[in-house]
């Protein structure tokens, strides 16, 4: 093909750094005071006595005089000016001391808008293959949709705002109070160990909270420790106890297998 022939010509002019045959591509550089095609000699950095950045500039110049390909860029953290400040605690910059930090993340790089970054990190959470610790479950927010049977619209809650099932239960109760006419808000959390009590609840017209977990199964809320719940819950649905009855056996099973 035409193009690959051209490419071969470009690369044919010798290996390594500046092997491209400039005349072939007519990329002539008529530098003022210099010869055509000669390299731009890197000037020494301005000695302006400033700290910080000149160090990094020095590092970069060293990059050029050596073989660029062999340098391990991971050893050269680029300072963000003098002050290594992150303007925004992005979802990526969480502290996870158990894992060694990768190359220092720089603010605003790569240039992807925060909205898109947040959307994508949500998707990475769902992706089983993701091994990158930065997009794993240690994110600052955990928004899930909450629907309630009979309510005309959905709501969203950030599960990370709560520390226990009780707090969540309170919040949900308030959120949907206008629809439940007082039927929501079991006084204590569902006691999974007590089968008969559980069955009573599920036979009533009381509302119970259920959730969809990472495997896509619908479960009764309360069967796993809170932290585990926050990590595995994808969405919430508040339904009548009588509708939730089909979930109970599975919930019991999963609960027993975990304890």
């Amino acid at each position: 093909m035409e193009v690959s022939r051209r490419t071969a010509n470009l690369l044919g002019g010798g290996g390594g750094g500046r092997g491209l045959n400039l005349k072939e591509t007519e990329l002539c550089l008529g530098l003022p005071g210099g010869g055509g095609g000669s390299e731009v000699a890197p000037e020494a950095p301005k000695a302006n006595g400033k700290r910080g950045y000149s160090e990094t500039v020095d590092l970069k110049l060293n990059l050029h005089t050596k073989e660029p390909a062999t340098l391990d860029l991971k050893d050269m953290p680029i300072k963000n000016g003098l002050k290594e400040k992150n303007l925004l605690a992005s979802a990526d910059s969480t502290k996870d001391p158990a894992k060694p930090p990768a190359k220092a993340q720089v603010v605003g790089w790569p240039p992807v808008r925060s909205y898109r970054k947040n959307m994508m990190s949500n998707k990475n959470n769902k992706d089983e293959g993701s091994t990158d610790q930065k997009t794993s479950t240690a994110s600052a927010v955990a928004f899930v949709k909450v629907s309630m049977d009979g309510a005309p619209y959905l709501r969203k809650v950030d599960l990370k705002m709560y520390n226990s099932y009780d707090q969540l239960s309170d919040a949900l109760g308030k959120m949907f109070s206008s629809f439940t006419m007082g039927n929501y808000g079991a006084q204590e959390m569902i006691d999974f160990m007590n089968e008969s009590k559980l069955m009573d609840l599920l036979n009533s017209s009381e509302y119970v909270p259920t959730y969809e977990d990472k495997d896509g199964d619908w479960m009764l809320v309360g069967d796993v420790p809170w932290e585990m719940f926050v990590e595995s819950c994808k969405r919430l649905r508040i339904m009548k106890g009588s509708e939730a009855i089909g979930l109970a056996p599975r919930a019991m099973e999963k609960c027993k297998s975990r304890s």
């Binding site: 302006n48 110049l61 303007l87 909205y115 994508m120 990158d132 619209y153």
Partner: protein, 625 residues
């Protein structure tokens, strides 16, 4: 003809004069500065001194009629410089005003000069603010504009804002002030909530367009969709795909059903696939659709709808632009097959689908002109694009994983394939982890129509991963071979040589974006001295200092703005520029909160020409020299 028309004067290079060219996303019409002082040109006609009222008035009437046909800002700006009469008449007949930088001119000045404006475009923050490089609350407030225009332009019909801050009050004022209001387009804006939207939708009865692309709306409990007035609406375009607020679906469904003119509907991810189905059934005439979640049906959605989803899409015979897929379940993708052949625009950039799923869609999209995807389609997916989409004009490949030290699924292979398969390509944005000069050079040869070339090699200072060379030659080839190029973003390991190429060949470049590039001041000098059309220059983390800054003095009045963050500038150097160019607003921003610049280093320099003088709404971290 009277002597009025004989003496055109041309704006001189160093004068404060409008740049003639527009950026790729510009709307027509910009205000140009007033003509030079009378008497500075002795060619001024004598008729102006002893006017003959009758003949002058006739001329002006004729001119008014003629100028109505002049819509391009370039032409209007030129016309306004012919003579005082032309200036006046042009000002009276300009209906579309474009303000590229909200601080370049005061609202009062605009409304004084242009009394009969129907449409306004105002842009605020510079683009690097999107990436958290600008501290919060820098400015770009719509408030002063709506306050002034509310009184001066009661017949205003259209407002387009980009990167501006609005409050609920601003929106209320807008709704109250403009009874004939028709179009509100807010791109990358923030600062308001659903209450503000409610004011607009309930009071602006002639609202045709409500577009909230990439705009942040906070949810304050009010369901704005419910507040559209009863009865038929004039809505043609309703875009809220990035608005992270819950919505009342019944209200939305009712709204769509009573909006017979609706052509563009982009739903947010709160809308489930079952809800989408119902909307599509009631609006089969849509031309642009954003599908919302497109994931698993919600518990309350009806079951077993696969056949019907496909039918719903088939029924949309006019569909040419498809986006959304925000929580996509690939099982449902086949539903869109029937419309693929008609699509000219497809946005899958929020859809994490795999290569095979992507290929099954793209292989049918042979009319596609605009494609936005995630790099999770791999080079193989891009090869499929190249094989099918011969008519492709714009491609954007976004990273699923926006980080530096990960394996990237797309590379020079994908770029090369695209260049070979899509010769009509005009605009490309390509995020990748590795690239070669050869592929970039190939694109420069294969795609001569390129106007926008933005390559983001996500690892900083990454060289050509096969040869180890800097990426200078690749970008050099782009500026040399792509004769129509106006917008360029560079990345990877780059020496001053790359800038030399840009300065030498980038004669039409208007927007240049630089990050972690260059060796010395010489690099920036090449660009400032070599690119006469440069309008917007944004630079971060590059070793350019005062000497480079000063080399651009001859050009800064011709530019919309210059942004330099974490470079090697000193306060002194910036001061020098501020002294030399009094009509330039030179802002120094500090990353330290609540502290003005106390030492000599400059975190951020943001400077722009301004007729206004230093703005009075600058927060504490901004110093205006």
């Amino acid at each position: 003809m009277s002597e009025n028309n004989h003496h055109l004067h041309h704006p001189q290079q160093n004068h404060f004069c409008p740049a003639e060219t527009m950026s790729e996303d510009e709307e027509p019409s910009r205000p140009s500065p007033p003509p030079p002082e009378p008497g500075s040109k002795k060619t001024r006609n004598c008729a102006a001194v002893h006017p003959s009222p009758h003949s002058d008035r006739v001329l002006e009437i004729v001119l008014e009629h003629v100028l109505q046909f002049l819509t391009a800002s370039r032409d209007r700006n030129a016309a306004s410089l012919v003579s005082k009469s032309w200036y006046r008449t042009e000002a009276l007949t300009r209906s579309d005003v474009f303000i590229g930088n909200c601080y370049s001119v005061s609202p009062a000045r605009v409304t004084t000069r242009f009394p009969r404006v129907r449409s306004v475009v105002i842009k605020g923050r510079p683009r690097f603010a999107d990436f958290n490089l600008m501290p919060q609350n820098w400015g770009g407030h719509f408030g002063p504009w709506v306050a002034t225009m509310g009184k001066a332009y009661p017949l205003l019909e259209r407002v387009y804002l980009k990167r501006m801050s609005l409050t609920d009050r601003d929106l209320c004022l807008l709704a109250d002030s403009f009874t004939k209001f028709k179009e509100l387009v807010l791109v990358c804006c923030e600062g308001f909530g659903t209450s503000g939207l409610t004011a607009v939708v309930s009071k602006c009865r002639q609202l045709r367009v409500l577009d909230l692309s990439d705009t942040e709306v906070s949810y304050d409990g009010v369901d704005w969709i419910s507040y559209f007035p009863e009865g038929e609406t004039c809505l043609e375009s309703l875009i809220f795909d990035c608005v992270e607020c819950p919505i009342n679906f019944e209200a939305l469904e009712s709204l769509v059903a009573r909006s017979p003119a609706l052509k563009k509907l982009r739903l947010n991810r709160e809308v489930s696939i079952g809800q989408l189905y119902r909307l599509m059934v009631s609006a089969p005439n849509l031309t642009h659709l954003g599908t919302g979640a497109f994931g698993h049906p919600e518990p309350q959605d009806p079951n077993n709808q696969e056949m019907d989803y496909a039918a719903a899409f088939s029924a949309c015979k006019s569909l040419v632009c498809l986006s959304g897929f925000r929580e996509v379940m690939p099982d449902y993708l086949p539903a869109i097959y029937s419309v693929c052949a008609n699509l000219t625009s497809l946005n899958l950039s929020y859809a994490n689908i795999d290569v095979e799923q992507f290929k099954s869609v793209i292989c049918q999209c042979f009319k596609l002109q605009i494609l936005w995807v995630l790099d999770s389609v791999y080079d193989e997916g891009l090869q499929a694009v190249a094989a099918t989409c011969r008519d492709l004009r714009e491609l954007r490949v976004f990273p699923l994983n926006a980080q530096e030290d990960v394996e990237g699924p797309v590379s020079e292979v994908g770029l090369q394939a695209i260049s070979e398969g899509c010769p009509k390509l005009e605009s490309i944005l390509y995020f990748c982890q590795r690239m070669t000069n050869a592929a970039v050079i190939a694109m420069s040869n294969n795609c001569p129509d390129l106007v926008v070339f933005r390559l983001c090699i996500m690892g900083r200072h990454q060289p050509d991963h096969i040869t180890g060379a800097p990426m200078d030659e690749g970008f050099g080839a782009i500026v040399m071979n792509c004769k129509k190029l106006t917008r360029l973003a560079i990345s990877g390991l780059l020496t001053d040589r790359a800038f030399a190429y840009i300065g030498m060949y980038g004669k039409l470049v208007r927007t240049l974006s630089v990050a972690f590039a260059g060796d010395s001041d010489t690099g920036l000098k090449y660009v400032l001295e070599g690119c006469p059309k440069l309008q917007k220059l944004e630079i971060r983390d590059s070793p350019f200092g005062d000497a480079a800054l000063v080399s651009g003095l001859h050009h800064y009045y011709n530019m919309r703005f210059l942004w330099m963050s974490t470079c090697q500038l000193s306060r002194q150097g910036c001061q020098e520029v501020a002294h030399a160019l009094p009509r330039l607003s030179v802002e120094l921003l500090s990353y330290e909160e609540n502290e003005k610049m106390d030492d000599d280093t400059v975190d951020v320099l943001y400077m722009y020409r301004s007729l206004h003088g230093p703005r009075d709404d600058a927060p504490q971290f901004v110093t205006i020299l």
